[in-house]
């Protein structure tokens, strides 16, 4: 199975007006919105996609035919948002896919909570990626600061890029555009029975698209209001999201052991530590020291001695020099992934023991980025490159877990 995963940045000028005014209908699925938000979104859609035939589906809307502007309003039953809409769930994809099949829509644009804050340009980019450039899945890349989307930067993006070779910076999307064949694949995956969790199960569309040899594109989407998760406990949320990703990776092991990863291009930036003022991370470094003292015996079950030695060095470093090396972080995550697969210890314990290590990466990220978005992006790409470089390590350990590993 070969794939050509591409994440390219599309310039608006490259789009033809004729392509934008395609007669192929576009289905746009919205979450529950107020009347004002609906009107605002309608204006954005009309600005972004003039002349486009659109089915606009929103829960509780009064179905109304096209009033001349090309928009047909539909009512549909959206998934109950137990996650307060901070990420698209399997049920969201299923509901959208069923509606797309019903109306025979070749492209679907599924928007998450706070959709009114999406710019018309972003809507246009997403729709055009699927309608005119024939991508099967288009995900937005929103502009985030050094303090935003940290789990994606530390874990989701580097793992997805290294293992599936698809560099999408927000693999757990809040909004997505997809083709009809991608919709049917997502619906099939979403129908699979999963654990009876208190929240809706997550779905990883990038991995699904990649193993199906579908084309994936990432489009720049500017700023957007990112909704907060309802669950405020980081440990619970992190365990849920990372557990879901690890399960998905485990299920697709035969694919990613062969897929070649893309080494992400680092931004053209030479960080100058002399000009940047690092953030004060004394408290976070102290927290990691406490975690290192207490959790050594559990980490020793999962990590090889070399990684433990590396963590010891990190814990002993003063706050002003605190840094989690990218290669150490990559190996640590891979070792946790392997332990999750082998069930070395209880999976709940395993994911709980990962939290302090993730927070150490966050502390390191904050110190490196020094409040600057460009420096933060540089550090994220550096982390992603380390995951790619260390991929042979996880492939080898996955195949021969009992082999001596110093």
């Amino acid at each position: 199975m070969s794939t050509t995963p591409i994440a390219d940045l599309i310039s608006p000028s490259a789009l033809s007006a004729e392509a934008r005014r395609s007669n192929a209908p576009l289905l746009i699925c919205l979450p529950t919105v107020t009347a004002d938000e609906l009107q605002s979104l309608r204006d954005h859609i009309l600005t972004a996609l003039p002349g486009q035939q659109i089915f606009l589906a929103t829960p509780g809307a009064t179905a109304s035919p096209d009033t001349g502007d090309g928009i047909t309003l539909l009512d549909y039953t959206a998934a109950p948002h137990t996650r307060a809409g901070w990420a698209l769930t399997a049920a969201d994809f299923l509901a959208a896919a069923q509606l797309a099949a019903e109306y025979d829509a070749p492209a679907t644009l599924l928007l998450g909570a706070e959709a009114a804050s999406i710019s018309p340009a972003a809507l246009q980019q997403l729709a055009d990626a699927v309608l005119t450039q024939k991508a099967d899945l288009a995900l937005p890349r929103y502009e985030t600061g050094p303090h935003d989307a940290l789990v994606s930067s530390a874990l989701l993006y580097p793992l997805t890029n290294a293992l599936f070779g698809t560099p999408t910076h927000l693999p757990l999307p809040l909004d997505a555009a997809f083709s009809s064949r991608m919709a049917s694949r997502l619906a099939t995956v979403a129908r699979k029975p999963t654990a009876a969790t208190p929240t809706e199960p997550l779905l990883w569309p990038v991995a699904e698209a990649t193993i199906a040899s579908f084309t994936v594109r990432e489009v720049p989407a500017g700023h957007r209001t990112l909704p907060h998760p309802a669950e405020t406990d980081l440990n619970t949320l992190l365990a849920e999201v990372i557990g879901s990703l690890f399960t998905d990776i485990e299920a697709k092991a035969t694919f990613w052991q062969r897929a070649r990863a893309t080494i992400p291009a680092k931004p053209n930036l030479r960080p100058d530590p002399s000009t940047a003022e690092p953030e004060d991370i004394t408290e976070m470094a102290e927290t990691f020291r406490n975690a290192y003292t207490n959790l050594q015996e559990i980490w020793a079950l999962v990590l090889p001695p070399q990684s433990l030695l590396g963590l010891k060095k990190v814990s002993r470093a003063p706050a002003e020099d605190f840094a989690m090396p990218a290669d150490l972080w990559a190996r640590t995550v891979y070792d946790f992934l392997l332990a999750y697969h082998l069930r070395t210890i209880n999976r709940g314990h395993l994911l709980g023991a990962l939290t302090p290590l993730y927070l150490a990466w966050v502390a390191s990220h904050l110190r490196r980025s020094a409040g600057d978005a460009a420096l933060a992006a540089f550090h994220v790409e550096e982390t992603a490159a380390a995951f790619v470089a260390e991929k042979p390590y996880i492939v080898s350990r996955w195949r021969w877990p009992d082999r001596f590993n110093p």
Binding site: L172, A195, T197, G243, T247, L342, H349, L351, A353, V362
Partner: protein, 252 residues
């Protein structure tokens, strides 16, 4: 005198030989029963293993297990293989049955007044129960200790290890006391010792947490005390960056 001593010794020796003669066949039967049942156990285990491998039992179970669950049947199996777990269970059931049959055989070889079986079998059952109590107690202690350790570290508690160790020993002491009580060893002494130890551990933990959380509690009380409203100050052109609020971390 000498003849009387010789006669007494001969009679004693005769009784010993009689007991030995009646006991040795019983031991032989015990050994034969254990060996046969062990061999049968290996046979049944091998058949079950082949059958389960042919049915791809492990794979089927893994695919049926709901994804994302923190613990499952595989977590409790040796080498995380349910097939291995079942085959070993069959083997040990056979071995234990062999031991039980062997004890019955030993008892049968004695005189009717001995009733060894009536004493040994219930006691062996109690021993088995005590072993199971200790086994599950230690499993529970380890699970709870790890849960508490990870939870306390993630809650940024300084005394996480101490708390985890305290809970671990609480459960271990409880399991050991239950096992000894099950074996009817020690009687009141065990109950008394258990009460003292359990109470001691709880008191130590309470003192440690109380003293360790002193600062936390005082900070919490300080927060509830109404703070005086700050005097309005003139806005400065160049605010101190150290006083500026730090941006909130957004993990998702």
């Amino acid at each position: 005198m000498g003849q009387q001593i010789e006669s007494a010794l001969r009679q004693s020796m005769h009784r010993v030989v009689v007991v030995l003669v009646s006991f040795l066949p019983g031991v032989l039967v015990f050994l034969v029963a254990v060996v046969i049942l062990t061999a049968l156990g290996f046979l049944f285990a091998a058949i079950a293993r082949r059958l389960l491998i042919a049915l791809r039992f492990d794979e089927r179970l893994a695919s049926n297990e709901t994804t994302g669950t923190p613990s499952s049947f595989s977590d409790w199996s040796p080498s995380h293989s349910p097939t291995l777990f079942i085959t070993r269970a069959i083997l040990w059931v056979c071995i234990l049955s062999g031991i039980a049959i062997g004890i019955s055989a030993v008892d049968a070889s004695y005189s009717a007044n001995s009733h060894l079986e009536q004493f040994l079998l219930p006691y062996l059952t109690h021993v088995l129960g005590a072993i199971l109590l200790l086994f599950f107690g230690s499993l529970l202690a380890r699970f709870l200790a790890r849960s508490i350790l990870i939870g306390a570290v993630n809650a940024q508690l300084q005394y996480a290890r101490f708390l985890s160790l305290g809970v671990k020993w609480l459960v271990l002491v409880l399991a050991a006391a239950m096992a000894l009580d099950h074996l009817q060893i020690g009687g009141v002494i065990i109950e008394l010792a258990f009460g003292i130890m359990f109470g001691g551990i709880v008191l130590t933990l309470a003192l440690a947490i109380g003293l360790g959380s002193r600062d936390l509690v005082s900070r919490s009380i300080e927060k509830t005390i109404e703070k005086p409203t700050p005097k309005p100050t003139e806005p400065t052109l160049f605010p101190d960056p150290a006083e500026a609020p730090r941006p909130k971390l957004r993990h998702f």
